[in-house]
Symmetry: C2
Subunit: 145 residues, 2 copies
DNA sequence: CCCGATTAGTTGACAAAATCAACCAATGCA
DNA sequence: TGCATTGGTTGATTTTGTCAACTAATCGGG
């Protein structure tokens, strides 16, 4: 039988986050999962603004602002004003931040491999595609095409 | 391209929980997502103990104990001692609890339908199967067979 | 039968994650 | 110029999750 999808999702993300935390801990990375998500977000899109990341990850901008502030305090991220529009603050990783991002990528790849286990790569791709489709279904479309 | 699976999972559960909260709110159900998970857990397995639910949902037993205490305070759940082993406390829904569970099921079915969107039922089942497989991969097996 | 180990449950303390609202500064536009 | 909008910051709070200590009940071996 198929368990309800909601329960499955809860348990899966829970298990995955636990695996990540363990991986980070053994790698000596002392950041929270949310902070690490931020690092990855900035690494994957340099010069993005906090607002960009907030909308992309669908998270509260206040929450994001605090995460960035903390990461800046740890000298992992720097902010510089946008040359044209000084409301924005472009986000960049410091050297330490970039080095950390690489280590994070390793840990995540490991966790991902462990999670994938014996599943064929095909299934994983399919899983992600379905998940993205479901996200799109859930999101209130302001600009339905 | 495929976004990293971790990000996808985060966003999916986030979007799903938001959809649930909205559904609960419009249905006039004033409980948190975690409390509602508990109600469902008890509804689906009457006479289960707190420990049963903790292990099944992989959640901290202290967390579970508090949720149950609150739900009992709301007259949605009752506890009675196990006839043979008085360490256990069997969990049961009250009449109000059962009535609520039905309304919850409706809201969740709706959210599930919305999330599934145009996706064929086939894909959804496949998704759940893959997710369950990944959970199994992540869980530390104490009894590897 | 007794004693130590185990198990279910409770509680305290806390950390992490998320939410909501108010607010300021810079920008864009009518 | 005046006003709505946007990016960002901060405060307050709620929800969720984690770890540890503790009680009470049960189990199992000597």
């Amino acid at each position: 039988m198929h368990p309800p999808i909601g329960e499955t999702l809860h348990r899966l993300l829970h298990a995955y986050k636990r695996a990540l935390r363990e991986g980070y801990a053994t790698a000596g990375i002392e950041l929270t999962v949310a902070q690490i998500r931020m690092i990855k977000g900035i690494a994957g899109d340099p010069n993005a603004s906090a607002q960009d990341i907030a909308t992309r990850t669908r998270q509260d901008k206040g929450h994001i602002a605090r995460l960035i502030r903390d990461l800046e305090g740890l000298d992992l991220v720097t902010r510089r004003p946008h040359p044209q529009d000084s409301r924005y603050r472009q986000l960049l990783l410091t050297d330490a931040g970039r080095a950390l991002a690489e280590r994070i990528a390793e840990v995540e790849a490991e966790a991902g491999t462990r999670m994938a286990g014996q599943l064929p790569a095909n299934d994983i791709e399919r899983f992600i595609d379905i998940a993205e489709a479901m996200i799109a279904n859930l999101e209130p479309r302001e600009n339905p095409l």
